[in-house]
Symmetry: C2
Subunit: 139 residues, 2 copies
């Protein structure tokens, strides 16, 4: 067994444009809510995004650049009355590699921009990847 | 709006230990199949992983270090008889930022190591993040 130990460097494929400038103002668990935002893709991502259509459900992976990376234990949902949990058993943005995982609905597609519902991140957040949602696998 | 443009550098939280040394030998869509592997976590991740228990379903995000990052269009499932698709409408490992997203079942937990079922990656693959699966949201 050989662990792969080269540096992992990620270039965003795009960024989120949203009304939400402040983390605290971003609704949590936005899926099913009406929060709307745009994913602005880099122009050379067009061939990769061409089949994305309104009505599609897609996974959007983001880099939660404002998240705290040193935190290992949190109060789930900020509820101080419950015991702390390790971040890997939560969906807290605070974690060693703060990659956001959001299932969102595509509302509109225009050149290099995808309007989506349910992406609960602040304005300017880097987008790392987009994947199709495979409902038959629950993923 | 201000896009976040600082470099994004990721340090793995651990690595996958598996019998599969060769991509081509790794079963696809392994969820529900019997492929088993170990996630070896770095020792300082223990507080973050402490609540993970056998029977849990967890998301495992990996860095698919053997994947081709320049590819934008693929034949879905390698089927040359169907039209090509943009990688963002597929689950192909080939994509600009090859982050693997796997829903896996925890089989066994020991110090700094988690045995799981359904993680379809090769031996040595870096693990970037682990998240709880929230079935009520389909995610």
């Amino acid at each position: 067994m050989t662990y792969y130990k080269e540096p992992i460097i990620i270039e965003p494929i795009g960024w989120v444009r949203s009304e939400h400038r402040d983390c605290k103002a971003v609704p949590h668990n936005g899926w099913g809510r009406d929060i709307q935002s745009e994913i602005d893709l880099l122009p050379d991502m067009e061939p990769a995004a061409r089949e994305i259509q309104p009505g599609n459900l897609i996974w959007v992976l983001t880099w939660l650049h404002l998240a705290e990376r040193q935190v290992r234990r949190v109060y789930p949902r900020g509820d101080l009355s419950r015991p702390q949990k390790g971040v890997f058993s939560t969906r807290s943005p605070a974690r060693p590699n703060p990659i956001g995982l959001s299932l969102v609905e595509v509302l509109e597609v225009s050149e290099n921009s995808i309007r989506v519902k349910g992406l609960e991140v602040v304005d300017g957040t880097p987008v790392l990847d987009i994947k199709s949602y495979q409902s038959e696998m629950g993923r």
